[in-house]
């Protein structure tokens, strides 16, 4: 029984894309979005059986708005403050035990 495998593994691709401009109050706002995609597909074609499976994931994260007006072009960044705060918490959760372990070691030396 001969089986032929078809595989398609696409690496993580991340790029900044421009959305369609939104016109508000005589200004043009262009969304800038970081698009990250990842996917994998696999098929097995044999004489007695055929199977296939695949999955994909897409993440869209706005990073800035480009404001185009008569005065010119301006880039206004969009920050995810909740994610920033959570990253800070995570960093603190790693650093505090390390500092305390150092404190214990120093106290034992004395």
């Amino acid at each position: 029984m001969s089986e032929r495998a078809i595989q398609g593994r696409h690496p993580v691709v991340s790029e900044v894309v421009e959305g369609e401009p939104i016109r508000v109050e005589g200004r043009e706002l262009v969304p800038l979005v970081r698009m990250t995609t990842r996917m994998q597909r696999r098929a097995l074609v044999g004489t007695k059986r055929v199977t296939g499976q695949g999955w994909g994931a897409v993440r869209l994260r706005p990073i800035a708005v480009l404001e185009r007006s008569e005065e010119g072009e301006r880039r206004i960044p969009i920050r995810d403050k909740t994610a920033q705060a959570l990253s800070g918490f995570l960093l603190a959760a790693f650093i505090i035990p390390l500092l305390l372990a150092v404190a214990v070691r120093l106290a034992r030396k004395d």
């Binding site: 939104i22 995609t37 706005p62 372990a101 034992r108």
Partner: protein
Amino acid sequence: MDKEMDALLNGLADLRAKANANAVFGNPVTAEGRTVIPVAKLAYGFGMGIGHEMMAEEAEAEKAEEPQEEEAGDSAGGGGGGMMAQPIAVVEVTPEGTRVQAVIDEQRLALAGGALGAWVAFWLAWTLVKIFGREAR
């Protein structure tokens, strides 16, 4: 069955082309001389699987490349997906200018802050026991 499988898997390859960058910006809402555009981050994913086992006669027909009206055998397939959208900011447009106001998820921050507080309290207690617990003995 091969063609159906190819079509299904090729659909996955177009994932990038189908993703719409405008999906993260909501419709502008104008009120009291200002326009507000909600901004969210988005993530979605899906997976699927399909299988077909041929009966002996179907396998023979396929080997001989004879067209068959009906596929004999067992087929099964399944799939699923999920999506997450989270507001992160609003773009406020007024005659004076454009500015971005962050949206902070206070509930998530409170939960994470509580967990961090408990974690730090545990390590502080551990440190005190290690330093003073030894001396007390």
